[in-house]
Symmetry: D2
Subunit: 391 residues, 4 copies
């Protein structure tokens, strides 16, 4: 009998991903993480393992995995290589989004490459003057013959420095309502596009970038979903991405704790291993506890999504709490290493910076708490965080 909501198939999948991650990904994490080059070889290997197609149906060449399976993949891979886990996460979300929203011709052209690891795509939503406040979006799409002209600037777009295509959100009307935003799929070799990679403290191979669009022409076939429905398209995904992120937080922070337990067993002070001091073991026990809470709340949110039930509140809870719990755990793991810890050579230092990006990306803690509070108080009651404005 399986526990919780895991079937035997889930357990088998976990074992297989863990084995792959620990043997093939863990050893090269540091080398890849400290470079700004994208790890194409590793990425294609993820593709060969089928890990880039988890979110795409089998008929379109994917794995047709359920959401719990995607969660397991994110958790296990993050325990070995946080950045590789991010690309699996991205592929699962973006893959599903492209499958559902790309027009058939474009889908046939792009999807196989996305699944095999030959093509990389991302999302461009944030702008220099607007983060989670979508009403403040300035990027415009103007109707022209046969398509649209895009003008504006996006920033903080993960993978944009290396990607071949982006899902770009732009205003197609200026009334400011929730039906003013439309999504376009934009190949990044289109004329008028300039990118520059951001000088990030971690997450380096992921290539977060700013992308400027100057009269970029996008043909009609690149329209994704309906005109004016772009906002709804991406909002629904946030409930999903935020739930998955919790498992990446768990996986990476639990790996940090495991490393620290191993260290505390052999490092001695005052004649015995430091792990025998409660001043060392208790903080580890506390962090492990919080992370366990993050983990099971995350799987619960995925289960709600699978059942078609609302999970906006749970997703927002995970998004503010998961990264905080992970960053605090990894931080304390570093301090517990003592004087060897203050060095770029300690993998935990790299991991801390990589994971800390999640504290901000996909919505700040403040935005998430606004969403949680709105769900608790009722949307009509907390109108200052009106749906169109905050989510």
């Amino acid at each position: 009998m399986s526990t919780f909501l895991f079937t035997d198939a889930h357990d088998d999948f976990r074992a297989s991903v863990r084995s792959f991650s620990q043997s093939r990904l863990a050893p090269g994490y540091m080398a890849r993480a400290s470079s700004s080059e994208f790890f194409w070889d590793t990425y294609r290997e993820l593709g060969r393992q089928g890990l880039l197609g988890l979110g795409v149906s089998e008929e379109n060449g994917g794995q047709g995995a359920d959401l719990i399976t995607v969660g397991i993949a994110c958790e296990e891979i993050a325990g070995a290589d946080y950045n590789a886990a991010f690309t699996v996460f991205n592929a699962s979300v973006a893959g599903g989004m492209l499958e559902k929203n790309l027009q058939p011709g474009l889908r046939e052209k792009w999807l196989p490459g996305v699944l095999s690891g030959e093509l990389l795509t991302g999302l461009a939503l944030t702008e220099p003057e607007s983060g989670s406040d979508a009403q403040a979006m300035r990027m415009k799409a103007t109707r022209v013959e046969g398509g649209w002209l895009l003008n504006g600037e996006k920033t903080s777009s993960s993978l944009a420095a290396h990607a071949h295509g982006l899902v770009v959100f732009a205003k197609t009307s200026q009334d400011g309502g929730t039906r003013s935003v439309t999504a376009f799929f934009v190949p990044l070799d289109a004329p008028g596009i300039t990118r520059h990679a951001l000088n990030d403290i971690g997450f380096k191979p992921i290539g977060r970038a700013a992308v400027a669009f100057e009269d970029v022409f996008v043909p009609d076939e690149n329209l994704m979903g309906e005109v004016g429905r772009g906002f709804q398209m991406v909002m629904g995904e946030f409930d999903y991405t935020r739930s998955l992120l919790g498992l990446m937080c768990y996986g990476s922070a639990q790996a940090a704790i495991d490393m620290t337990v191993a260290y505390a067993k052999q490092r001695k002070a005052f004649g015995q291993p430091i792990g025998r001091f409660q001043g060392v073991s208790f903080p580890l026990a506390e962090h492990a506890t919080y992370l366990e809470g993050v983990k099971w709340l995350s799987y619960h949110a995925l289960a709600l999504r699978m059942a078609g039930r609302p999970h906006t509140k749970e997703a927002a809870m995970i998004k503010w709490w998961g990264p905080q719990a992970a960053v605090r755990a990894i931080h304390d793991c570093i301090v517990l290493h003592g004087h060897v810890a203050y060095s770029e050579d300690l993998p935990l230092q790299q991991l801390l910076r990589d994971v800390s990006g999640l504290e901000i990306g996909d919505g700040t803690p403040q935005i998430q708490k606004m969403i949680v509070a709105r769900e608790m108080f009722g949307r009509e009651y907390l109108p200052y965080a009106a749906p169109k404005a905050t989510s």
Copy 2:
């Protein structure tokens, strides 16, 4: 389709218990909670609802409920009447223990009353000089003809002030090993027993008491399980009780949050409801998040137990974290009520004191973190009680 590990039957059971609890239990909580009398009427009503037999098989007159169902009962009832939930919790655990370990004659004599709410039983483990350190136990059972003589003192025994019988743990050998403790079922009208109720800050109707045993004769038929196996009998239950307690913490603290949300919607300051200030809504969102983590970790631990998998670590995590999360949430809910909060008339003040008992009962936070750490580091590495390991 049901989410997580809940079947439709679970969902139906939850709806029914919630309806019963909110309509029948919630209104009288304050009155019952501030009295030191046991709420026999309410207790028998719980019996009639079948809520006292969840942990006993159908063939022995119980409900034969699975553990998830017991968890749901604890959660929902605690959301209405924390102390009533404690008796359901106690009946589920004690019922199962009596069913499994009482000799048949005694079982037939006691079990029906326990299930109907006519008889009350509890556990007597803690002693004045020993809490979680079982090796320090002093209570002795000496072999005499036809039975045993009990001598010693127990304390902090929940329900003992009102109970008809107690499962009493006593040393049957003095070698101090884990096989030196034996369990006996002791009717409290046996000669030589003196009880005095403790003057508790909350949990008042539950009647925590000290019980002194002076040459108390217990016949052989009252032996529970095997001689020398009492410690194992109760330790295995702790993994269960600690998991359930997490759901009582969740249920009661979530009720406090709900009350506070309702208050913050109508109480005004500076011209608007105080719930619109993030200084009010954010702490509520944060506590709700932590409690959600406690909840799903608790159900996960119950699922592990149902699947026969180890869950000692998870149970200990729940035991230190759940009460802390609940007490902190309720505390902040009180402060958010402002100057009306500093009064015995606010039910949250009663609730805070009732729930705070869980911070200590069933093992202090320190003990739980020792257990978690031992599971993380390995038992051979952190030998539970060794002075050298902890100082």
Copy 3:
């Protein structure tokens, strides 16, 4: 040489107050604290010791003590009897306020009794529908011949159940500006006054009460300060009271820590005193650290006040942080006592409830953080109460 800002006279005063408090006040704390009677004998003894006249000049019969001296008294007495410390605190603040603002005739009539402990006075500011939001005040003073008629209701007024007179704040104009509030000294035997004591969880002898005023006539001579300047009169005092409260928090919580250290030295588990486990000693070290921070910030704020420098920010910092630090410390001290802790018989349980009143009284944590933020951001930037600014 003396340290910090303490002269030798300060050190001598501290030694003397400590000796008095520990020998005369500490033994009866529990008995007095659990009664709703006011401790008149103790209060008069405080008067004989000169501890009720610290805030009044020598020419008016007081001690003319500097603010550091008042702080020392609050700290030391709170370490023995929190409620007695509150009355010394109240006498110091109210004494100074009466001396400065009462008209000469009334001053001569009342001040000697206040200093000797025969007369008790308090403040009445809070109303059922308004806490720290003075603009929402509804109590009215209407001009009539020879005086004023007071109508309205005050609540949460400390000592009001026992007091002989109250400084009452009422609106003398309805324009809602900061010059609309006036202070009156109101003897509580005036016709039209009804009081009822609140059923508080702690702070019991202090007699927090609601007071209703129905056409209560107050003659002109009872006007305190200028018409329309009541708000300013009390606001300036808040910077003072909040600084002093930090030292009451420190004194009482440090006493709790001392008791717990003593307990942890003798209580044994696993063969040794529990204080030798870092899981016990580290939380005590952490709380002691935070409290030390509260203490020296409090003395710094008093020093700023003595030097005539602004200290609104520091006072608000102390007010939200001091009580939180004290309540958390005392709470953990209780839990560290294990199963003996969950009893009314443990003085720390009484202390927890007494001190917890400070979390709310004199302004909630939310109000204090608003004040701190306003001082950090600039008043023009965060206009105190503007709905638009906070939602």
Copy 4:
């Protein structure tokens, strides 16, 4: 009148150091902080300002400043350039140590250069296998004719990559008692010395390094203090350095808060500056409060030291709490910057890494809490943290 323990001279000194720091140091902080080169020009300018001689008497060419003055310098300079503040801190401590303990000939040779910024010296105490546990020290000094031969390895020695001389602690007897350690002043051009700089995450120009000693000859005149008294020499300094570090923590974190307040005033979301959301302003108010506590506790500890009173407990409190409070504040300041924060271009990211070194250097949080607990419980009571072993 001046507040607290500051004289007018202190206030004037603060104004002057602040003006110098903000105009001369702040602008180049980022450039210097991201380089592994030592900032000799800046250092000599600190020398010309007299800031390197604060801890040395006027008769030996220093400023003869009192400890409060040194604290002011550390606080103000850290608010502009954390690493420059570290060198002033180092010079104050090392200068005093060299003045007191160097033999006259060597003192005349080295001290002038140390004061002018031409010569740099540091301390070498930590070893690869021993941090705060001095009994585990392996570095040996063997008596030879005319001096001593040093063998062993030191690590985590600040400034050692650039320094001209180090105070090196080595065992001169193997009995393991507190009198087995002796201090030597070792010029770093002595034969047999190999250094390698550590690849630190921050603190880069400071050049933390490992230093290997292979038969390094040190003449008798380089002996510092008495044989066997090295441990006492350095222990007394720790109470001093830990107090000063609290003010560096305060200065740097307060600067981070000031930057974030400025940012939150202009960055907009949902139509208004984000500083008007309590979700943004309250965390800033909370961090500012904790830091204020750290600050006044630090000045109090310095005042105790000036008065010749014990302050070991206070120093250890500051050492674990100050860096934690600063790191948490700077971390949250970063997150409050939103998506622009995850970049090496944000000075706060550099500052976070620079300050985080203080969490470990000079003793881990665990060691500090052991010391605090020992002071609270009594040294005889907590012998596992015996003076020789833990401090």
